[in-house]
């Protein structure tokens, strides 16, 4: 009897299955018999509108610690408002016929900062003209979602993909709500009037040929759960993931493609926060991750935000294809911890582009 068959029989009678069914948080990662094929695109360009979600790590750490630690509800933490930035990316897809479509991934934290970077990159005008007509909220964390008003004030009826596991207050913010009595918490005076697509686990949301969203019910800090991940299949190259924070883990995303997508073994690259060491601390498991990603033979890794400079630096030293940034971020009105520490340029910073 094979080990797996033996275990199936044993576990089927055990309470372990009861746990997996009842809690509903365990991975259902078993391979599908029919692999998804959502088409191909010609190329993909990602522009980093802002990856500096906050500007000083110890300040944010102290705010969270004072409120009770990383398991506290994100709407109950009083944040130092001078420290707030935001995360957002402009995702430009070139279809096989050459037609280009733009998507906005995330909308940042501080309205002041997001208004500044939107204006700097012309995102405000793209929203007003509906050159961008879709907003993908990766997850409802402070730095990806709280500046919702900065997007909605330019286009209240924008189509939004929103994680189904988002907090009740995050859903309320969509309709217009004010939580700003707590410093650093959001207000939105422009209710959303457009189509709202609430994403669920185990479903693939096709944006266009070669581009899709997959929702992962993954744990995150500050009581946030779940993340929408953008998958692209680039002709003759392979799969690229674009993430806000990548809370499910980059290896989970790669393995999801391998198990569920046609030609899923072709991993070309990734962009975004990889949520490995957002506060620049280290754990031996992060060495495992370098080893794991290296074995996947990716061609381009564009990372920033919550990846942790320390991981990107070590990964680059170990031979991973980390795409270096430029110094455009230094021309912005504020710079973050990494720029101030004059670290090596292994991050794609504010204003940088990556093309797949």
């Amino acid at each position: 009897m094979k080990r797996r068959d033996f275990l199936k029989g044993m576990v089927a009678t055990g309470a372990g299955v009861a746990i997996s069914g009842g809690v509903g948080t365990l991975s259902k990662a078993h391979a599908k018999s029919k692999l998804e094929d959502f088409g191909e695109i010609k190329s993909l360009k990602v522009h980093c509108i802002s990856e500096t979600s906050w500007f000083d790590n110890p300040t944010l750490g102290a705010d969270i610690k004072a409120a009770g630690g990383i398991n506290t509800n994100q709407y109950d933490v009083a944040y130092n408002e001078e420290n707030l930035g935001g995360y957002a990316a402009l995702v430009e897809v070139e279809a096989l016929d050459g037609k280009k479509t733009k998507y906005l991934l995330d909308t940042g934290w501080s309205n002041d900062w997001m208004d500044y970077v939107f204006e700097k990159d012309g995102i405000d005008k793209m929203l007003q003209s509906k050159e961008i007509d879709t907003l993908i909220i990766s997850h409802d964390h402070i730095d990806h979602y709280f500046a919702l008003e900065s997007t909605l004030k330019h286009q209240p009826d924008i189509k939004i993909y929103f994680p189904g596991t988002s907090m009740k207050k995050s859903f309320e913010l969509l309709k217009g709500a004010d939580f700003s009595a707590t410093p650093g918490c959001p207000k939105n005076s422009v209710p959303h009037t457009g189509e709202l697509i609430v994403t669920e686990t185990n479903k693939l949301y096709k944006l266009q040929e070669g581009a899709a969203i997959v929702f992962f019910d993954a744990p995150a800090t500050l009581q946030v759960r779940g993340e929408n991940v953008m998958y692209f299949k680039i002709k003759d190259k392979g799969y690229v993931t674009v993430t806000g924070c990548c809370h499910p883990g980059i290896m989970t995303l790669i393995n999801h493609a391998r198990r569920n997508f046609k030609d899923g073994n072709n991993n070309y690259g990734c962009y975004g926060g990889l949520h490995i060491s957002p506060f620049e601390n280290w754990d031996p498991k992060m060495d495992d991750l370098i080893q794991g990603v290296k074995a996947m033979n990716m061609t381009k890794i564009g990372c920033n935000h919550c990846t942790g400079w320390i991981w990107a630096e070590k990964a680059a030293q170990m031979g991973l294809p980390i795409v270096n940034g430029t110094n455009k971020n230094l021309s912005y009105k504020k710079t973050g911890t990494l720029a101030q520490a004059k670290t090596s340029n292994v991050y794609l910073g504010n204003g940088d582009d990556i093309v797949f």
Partner: protein, 414 residues
């Protein structure tokens, strides 16, 4: 107060009888215990409570060391410095308060005083979060340093736990029969400490040396177990060693100490105890990993959450503790109800009950824990470790049993 010179430990010789029927007495104890668990959890640990010590590693390191100290008090020092008269005749509540006071005092002196303040300030940076922030640079912020120092203290407790159980139960008074308390306790503790510190340096120090950038290769070798465990994390050692400890307590609470009672003569008893506990621990560890493979597919190098090798190794301890908590409750609160069954049947029934109810307990914890305890939702959440809660529960069970003679449902037989 005086030292006691009895030939047997108090816990081994005392007899408890239920105040009412076994069922009612056990139920009364369970109600008091559950109330105590919620009160203590919400005051000290919960994220929505007052002290918020469940970070989770800070709380975990606290409860694991206090559990160890409780065991030392009862099994190693035989309740010294309290007289046998006080232990025998004292009011259970007064005894509970006094003995728990000693537990807290020892914790403050040994862990906060010696390890955190003294060693952390003058010897080993990573035992003190203030030192990490003072000497560390990038990434050594208030949150991460607290977790690093707590993980170090937690890691230190694991070999102490294993070696303590070997010496407390596999050696007992055989090694220093001529010594009275506290000399015997101190001698045994010294021996335990020497062996535990060596094991800590081999099994855990390389992990902590790899928690910084650049890797601290001149003071700690890179994790040598990577090729065996598929991870650099010491959760591999933690899983096997801790499951070995849990296995010993399974034997005591489910099978009247079998198989550890088979060999009587020293030094074979000690060797048998150590080897069997490691083998048993490895079986508990490996069997769970097979089940996890079935539930969550195979783990892979660099995987996150339930796909991570390290998390799975650590989770074997958590799941084993869900069963252990039920095994202890069953044995201490309702154990006398099983005396009507012959030995083997009794062991089988108790084991089945512990596993089935333990799994239901696990389901209830993950399903209702966020609402009832303020813990974070999700089995593999990075900020969640149910073992912290479970060890706190075991702390309170032992306080109720060892320090309070099973009050209110049970009393000492006169």
């Amino acid at each position: 107060m005086s030292s006691n010179n009895a030939t047997e430990n108090w816990i081994a010789t005392r007899e408890l009888s239920p105040r009412w029927s076994v069922g009612l007495s056990g139920l009364a104890n369970l109600v008091v215990h559950v109330i105590a668990v919620f009160v203590i959890w919400w005051i000290f640990f919960s994220n929505a409570g007052i002290f918020k010590l469940y970070t989770p590693l800070l709380g975990f390191s606290l409860v694991i060391w206090t559990l160890l100290i409780i065991l030392w008090q009862a099994e190693l020092f035989d309740f010294w410095p309290f007289s046998r008269g006080f232990i025998r005749d004292g009011n259970p509540l007064a005894k509970g308060a006094a003995l728990t006071g000693v537990t807290i005092a020892v914790y403050l002196i040994l862990i906060i005083g010696l390890v955190f303040f003294f060693l952390g300030k003058y010897g080993v940076t990573y035992f003190n979060w203030n030192s990490l922030m003072l000497y560390g640079e990038f990434g050594q912020d208030p949150t991460s340093t607290r977790e690093t120092a707590s993980w170090a203290m937690l890691s230190l407790s694991v070999p102490f736990f294993l070696i303590s159980t070997w010496f407390m139960f596999g050696v007992g008074k055989d090694l220093f029969p001529e010594l009275n308390q506290p000399r015997r306790g101190i001698a045994m503790w010294g021996l335990i400490a020497v062996i535990s510190i060596i094991l800590y340096l081999v099994f855990f120090h390389p992990h902590i040396g790899s928690m910084f950038y650049p890797q601290q290769i001149y003071t700690a070798v890179p994790p040598w177990w990577q090729g065996i465990a598929q991870t650099n994390s010491a959760e591999f050692s933690l899983g096997i060693l801790f499951c070995s400890v849990v296995g010993i307590f399974y034997a005591f609470h489910l099978w009247d100490g079998w198989p550890f009672t088979i060999v009587k003569k020293q030094p074979w008893r000690f060797i048998f105890f150590a080897v069997v506990s490691l083998v048993f621990g490895y079986i508990i560890f490996r069997l769970q990993l097979f089940i996890f493979d079935y539930l969550w597919y195979e783990a892979y190098i660099g995987g996150q959450n339930e796909a991570n090798f390290g998390w799975r190794y650590s989770h074997t301890v958590t799941m084993a503790n869900f069963v252990l908590v039920i095994a202890i409750i069953q044995n201490t609160f309702f154990g006398q109800a099983y005396t009507r069954f012959p030995g083997i049947l009794r062991g089988i029934i108790k084991t089945v009950v512990a596993i089935v109810v333990g799994m239901l307990f696990a389901w209830a914890y993950y399903r209702f824990g966020p609402a009832l305890l303020g813990v974070t939702q999700g089995v593999s959440h990075p900020s969640e470790n149910a073992a912290a809660f479970l060890i706190m529960v075991i702390n309170l069970l032992l306080i109720q049993d060892f320090f309070m003679d099973g009050w209110p449902g049970y009393k000492l037989k006169r």
